[in-house]
C-alpha cells in the first residue's frame, strides 16, 4: 500500500532543473499561487480534518489539533512516546486526511542517507545520470522510529526539513508544498535508539507526547479497533490545494508588536535562565510565532493573542532547550521550567500610563 502511494510521486515534475527553477517559497503547488481562504471555509476545512483524525484516535483531540497546527504552520512534527500509544497512527491519519502525496520511511539502523534524499543513477538508454527522488519527495513524509537510524541518516533530513529542498550531486531539487515531516520516536532511554542531535531536534516545530488515553477512550478503542484498522475508513477530506490555501491564510494572520515582544521575551528568558544550559534559538522563536499564527487561525482569528503563544510554547520549545545538570538532577523538566517562565513573564496587558494615553494619541 505504501509503495503504491509512493508511486503517485511520479507524475509530479521531478526532473532536475525544474526543481531548482521553481520559486522558493512561493507556494508552488501545481504552478499557481494558492488562494486565500475566508474564515468560514477555513473553519470548515479544519473541522473536517480534526473530526477525521478524532474518529481514528480516540481522546487525543489536543494532539490532533497540534498536529494540524504544525501542518498549517509549515513545520515538522515530532511524536515522541513509548511504543504503542498511536504515534504512527496519528501520523498516518493526518497524512491520509489530506489528499496529497505521502511517503513513509521506516528508519532502521541500516538506512542510508540516499534512501531518504534520492540518488543519481545511470540511465543506460539516455547514457546519463538521472536523479531518482528519495522518499522525502512527498507532501507529507512519515519518518517512523526516526531515532533508530544512525545520526548520519537522520542528518540527511536536515536540509530538506529546513530549506524544503534536496541537494544531490550539486543539484538542488525543490520539494513540494505543503511539505511536512511527521517523525515518531521512542524516548531516548529506550533500547536501540540514537538520540536526535540538537540541530535535528531544532528543525522540528513541535514535539508531542501522546500519552496514554483515558479510561473511556481506551475502552472505546478496544471496541472499535478490534475487527479492522480504523485507518481503512479514513478518506481525504481536503485537497492539497486546500491545505496550501489554508497555509497561505495562516501566513496572513496579523502579529502585533506586543506579541513579537512577548515572544522575544520568552526566548530571552529561556536564555537567561540559570537552570537551562541551552535556551530557545531564534529559529525556535520564529517557529513559535508561526505555530501561534496557525493556532490563532484555527481559533477563527486573524490576529495572534498571547494565549496562542502560550498554548504552543511548551510543545514548540520544550524539546529544544537543554537543562542544566543541576536542574536535571533536582527533578526539573524542560516543561516545568517553561511553565515557570511563562508564569512569571509579564504579558504587558497595560503599558504604563495607558490610562493617560489620550494625551499622546489624540
Amino acid at each position: 500500500m505504501e509503495s503504491k502511494r509512493q508511486l503517485s510521486v511520479e507524475p509530479t515534475p521531478l526532473q532536475g532543473e525544474a526543481y531548482s527553477a521553481a520559486p522558493r517559497d512561493g507556494a508552488a503547488l501545481n504552478g499557481h499561487k494558492p488562494q486565500l481562504m475566508d474564515a468560514e471555509r477555513f473553519h470548515d476545512a479544519s473541522e473536517r480534518i480534526l473530526n477525521s483524525i478524532n474518529t481514528v484516535i480516540d481522546g487525543k483531540a489536543d494532539a490532533a489539533k497540534l498536529a494540524l497546527t504544525v501542518l498549517l504552520a509549515q513545520g515538522h512534527l515530532l511524536l515522541e512516546d513509548v511504543p504503542g500509544v498511536g504515534k504512527t497512527l496519528l501520523a498516518k491519519t493526518l497524512a491520509r486526511t489530506v489528499d496529497c502525496t505521502v511517503s513513509r520511511i521506516q528508519f532502521t539502523p541500516d538506512l542510508l542517507p540516499s534512501d531518504v534524499t534520492g540518488v543519481s543513477i545511470y540511465n543506460q538508454s539516455s547514457r546519463q545520470f538521472e536523479f531518482r527522488p528519495g522518499a522525502v519527495f512527498a507532501n507529507i513524509v512519515i519518518g517512523d522510529e526516526i531515532n533508530r537510524a544512525s545520526a548520519k541518516t537522520q542528518s540527511a533530513l536536515l536540509e530538506c526539513m529546513e530549506e524544503h529542498q534536496v541537494t544531490v550531486d550539486g543539484h538542488s531539487y525543490q520539494l513540494g508544498l505543503p511539505f511536512m515531516v511527521v517523525a515518531t520516536q521512542n524516548p531516548i532511554e529506550m533500547e536501540g535508539t540514537y538520540p536526535l542531535p540538537e540541530a535535528q531536534r531544532d528543525r522540528f516545530m513541535a514535539r508531542i507526547s501522546m500519552g496514554y488515553p483515558d479510561k473511556e477512550a481506551e475502552i472505546e478503542m478496544l471496541e472499535t479497533h478490534q475487527a479492522s484498522s480504523p485507518l481503512v475508513k479514513v478518506t481525504p477530506v481536503v485537497t492539497a490545494s486546500d491545505v496550501a490555501a489554508m497555509i497561505a491564510t495562516v501566513q496572513q494572520v496579523y502579529v502585533s508588536t506586543a506579541i513579537k515582544e512577548y515572544t522575544v521575551a520568552i526566548g530571552r528568558a529561556t536564555r537567561d535562565s540559570a537552570r537551562l544550559r541551552l535556551g530557545a534559538s531564534p529559529r525556535s522563536l520564529l517557529q513559535l510565532l508561526r505555530a501561534a499564527k496557525a493556532t490563532a487561525a484555527l481559533d477563527g482569528r486573524d490576529f495572534v493573542l498571547p494565549d496562542d503563544v502560550v498554548d504552543v510554547a511548551e510543545s514548540v520549545l520544550a524539546h529544544r532547550i537543554i537543562l542544566d545538570r543541576k536542574a536535571a538532577s533536582s527533578g526539573d523538566t524542560p516543561q516545568s521550567i517553561l511553565r515557570g517562565i511563562l508564569a512569571s513573564l509579564p504579558v504587558a496587558q497595560e503599558p504604563p500610563g495607558a490610562w493617560r494615553r489620550d494625551r499622546h494619541t489624540a
Binding site: Y254, S256, V304, L305, P306, D307, V347, Q349, E350, R357
Partner: protein, 833 residues
Amino acid sequence: MTATSHRGSPGAPSQSGGTPGHKQATGSVRSRTPGPGPYPWAMAGSITVAVLGSALSLNGVLRGWAWFMPLITTVVVVALTLAVLRALRAQPLIATLGSFAALAGVLSFIFCRQDSLAGFIPTTGTFTAVGRLIKRAAETVVSESAPVAPNAGIVFVVCACLGLLVILIDALAVPLSMPAASGIGLLAVMVVPATIKPQSVGVAGFIGAAVGYLLILGCSHWFAPDARLQSGAARGVGQFRRSVVTGGLALALTMVVPLAIPGFETGTFPQGSRLSPWGTSNGLNPMITLGNSLRSPVGSGRITYATSSSSPLYLRSVTIDHFDGETWAPDDRAAERRVGADRIETGYAVQGEVVNAVTSVNAGLFTSPYLPAPFAPASVNGLNGRWTWDPATLSIMSTETTTRAQRYVVFSAAPKVTAQSLAQATAVPQGIPEDFLRIPGNLPDIVRQTADSVTASANTNYGKALALQKYLRSGEFTYSLQAPVQNGYDGNGLSVLADFLAVKSGYCVHFSSAMAVMARAEGIPSRIAVGYAPGRLTGESVALVGQGSFPEYEVDARDAHAWPELYFEGLGWVPFEPTPSRGVVPEYATESSVPGNLSTNADEKEVLTTPAPATPAPVPLPGVDTPAGGSASVNPLPAIGAAAGGVLLLVGFLWSPRLSRSVLRRRRLNRKPVDDAETILPGYKDPAPELAWAELQDLATDYGLPSTPSETPRHFSARLRSSTALGDANGIDDAAHNAVASLTSDFERQRYGRPAVASQAAASRIAVVREALRNNARWLVRFRADWLPPSMMHRWVHALGAPFRALGAFMKSVGWAVARVWRTVRGLLPQRR
C-alpha cells in the same frame, strides 16, 4: 521598556505621562548631540538656588545672618565643582567624589584654615578641629534654645550638611534621573525650622525652596541627558504652560491648605521648646530652661516648703552675674566654693536689724545641681551628699548629687530692708567682687540710653533702682511668655536684652536682666537671681524645728522666676521685682514707699496708677498666676472657621480615594472618539478599548480579583467570569458576562489585532459589569471598593514607595560602582607570586 521611563518620576509636576515608543526614538537621537551643553551649569544653578532658598528658613534657628555667607561659599563651591566636572564629562562617580573633595576643601578653608595644609587640604589637625567644632555644635544643640548664636560649631554643621545636600540632590537629579526625589533633601532642611521655630518655615524659606525645587525639575526635564525623562512631546509652549499651571496649582494649594487646618501654624512642639531627648529641664542653665518651664502646661518639679518668714518667700537657686557673651550662664566659681552648707557666711557687713527665718524644703522630684534656698542662707541642715557654697553669691550647689528627694531645713538671715534704710544706703559699695559691677563691653546703646533716660531724675542708687523698676513695671511693658518666642529673642544675652527693650514684652528673664544690666550701667552692683516666686498654699501645715507649725506652700516649674538683686552698702543684696504680674513687690520697693522727691514725673505716675487698657497680658494675683493665661483670649470666629475647614478637609481626605477613582473612571470612559478621519494616521489605534480594559482590570482589583502581570487578557477574563464575583453566567448576570467577554475581545482586537478605529462605547458595558460585581460582593468588599478602592490605593502606595525604591536603586548602583572600582584597582596592583 516603558517602565524604565517612569522610574523615579512620579509626582513630578511637569512630567506628562506615558511615552509612546516612536517618540522616544527622537529623544535618543537628540541626546547624541556632542557636549553636555548648558545642562550642568543650569542644574548646578538650580540646586544652589534650591538649597540656599530652603536655608533661608534657618534664620530664626540661627540668630542673625552671619552664618549665611559661609553657607553661600560652601554651596556655590560644591555646585560649581559638580558643574565643571559634568561639563568635562567626568564619570558620574568621579563627579560625585570630586564634589566631596570640594566640600572637604571648602570646609577646611572656612573653618580650620590654620590646621589645614595650604589652607584647604585637610590634615589630621583639621580632623581634631572638626571634632571640636562638632562637639561645640552638639553642646549648642543640647543646651541652647532657638535662636542659637551662630557659633563656629553650629555654622560648620550647617555648612557641612547643606554641602552634602547639594551632592545628594545632584546625584539624585543627574546620574540617577530622579529629580523629583531631590525634594526630600530640601524637606529635610525645612523640617528643622518647622519643628523648632514657632512661626515654622516662613514664607521666604518656603518660596526659596519651592522655586529651587521647581527649577531642578524644570531643568532636568528640559535638558534630560537621555530619553528617560523626556515625555516625547517637543519642548514647546504647551509643555511650558502645563508645567506652569501644575506648579502654580500645587504652590497655591500648599499655601491655602495650612490655613484651613487648625494647628498647622503652631508647629509640632510647644512654642520655644527644644527638641531635646534629655528632658525638658536639665537644670544646667536655669536661665535657659526658665522660659520653657514657665510655658510648660503642667507644672513639673514640685517643691513644697514651709517657712517661718512673715513675708512672701522667694526660693533662690543660683545667680547670674556675668553679662558678657552671647548666652548668660551661672558662674560657678569652682575655685572659690567652700564645702559644707551647714555654715554659710555672707561675707559683707550688715547694719541694722536682721530678720531670721527657718524654712523647711522638700525638693521632691525637682532635679537640679543648685539648691533652692531662701536668701540669705546661714546654714542648711539635713542635706545628703557633698554641697558647696559660693561666698560671693551664696548659691549652694553640688557636683556630685542633685536636689532630687532632698529634705532640708534652711536657716536664713536677711537684713530688714526698708525704704528709709535703702535711701540712706548711699555709700559706695565696697567689699564685693568687681564682677558685680563690670559693665559688659558690648552693651547695646539702647540699654544705656534707656537706663540714662529712666534714671535721669534720680540721684541715689535707691532712687535709680526704683525708677528702673517702676519703668519696667509701667504700662509700656507687658508680661508675655509668647512675645519673645514670636519675635525671636527668647533666651538671654545682651542682644536679647536690646530686643526686649525695643519690643517691650517678655517675661521675668527679660525684666530681671534689663533691670540688672541697667543698674550696672548706672553704677549699682547687680546680679540676677534665679529661683522660684512665692508659691501657693497646699492647705497642709508642717512643724518646724522649735518654731511651731507653719502652712505649707508649693511651687513648681510654672513658678520659676528670675529677679534682680542690687547691692546696697550696709544692707547687702536686696531683691527687686521689676516683672509685672509676677512675684511680690517688696515693701521697700513699692510705689508708696517711694519718697516724693524721687518721682517727679507726674505722667509716669499716672501711667503707673492706671493700668493700660491695651495691655493684653493678664494681671493675675501674685502667686496664683498661670502662664497659660497669656493665650486664653481667643477670637472664636477663626476657631470655628478652622474647625469647619478641618472637618471639610477630613471629609475631603476620606473622600479622596473614592473621588480620584471615579475621576479616573470618567476620564477613561468618557473619551471623545476621534471622528475626524483625516487626523487619523496610519497605524493609529483607538485607545478606548485599552482604557476600558484598564478600567475593567481596576474594577476586578477593587472587588478582590487583581490581574497578575503574567496573565493574558483572555485568561484574566476567563478567571473573572468563572469566579463567583461576577455572579451566575446564565442567570441574572448574563449581561455582565457578555460585557466582560466583549470588552475582552475588543481589547484583544485593539491591542493585538490590525489597527482599526471602530469600537463601540464601553461605558455602558463597564457599568453593567460594575453593577454585577457590586451585587455579588459582600458589604465589606463593596464598602472597600467604594471608599478605599484597592486599585487606587496600590497606585498611591506605589507612588509613596518610589523614593525608597529610588534610594535602594541608588545604593545598589553605588555598590556596583564601588565593586567595579575595586576590581579595577585590584587589577592595577602588582600581582604577588
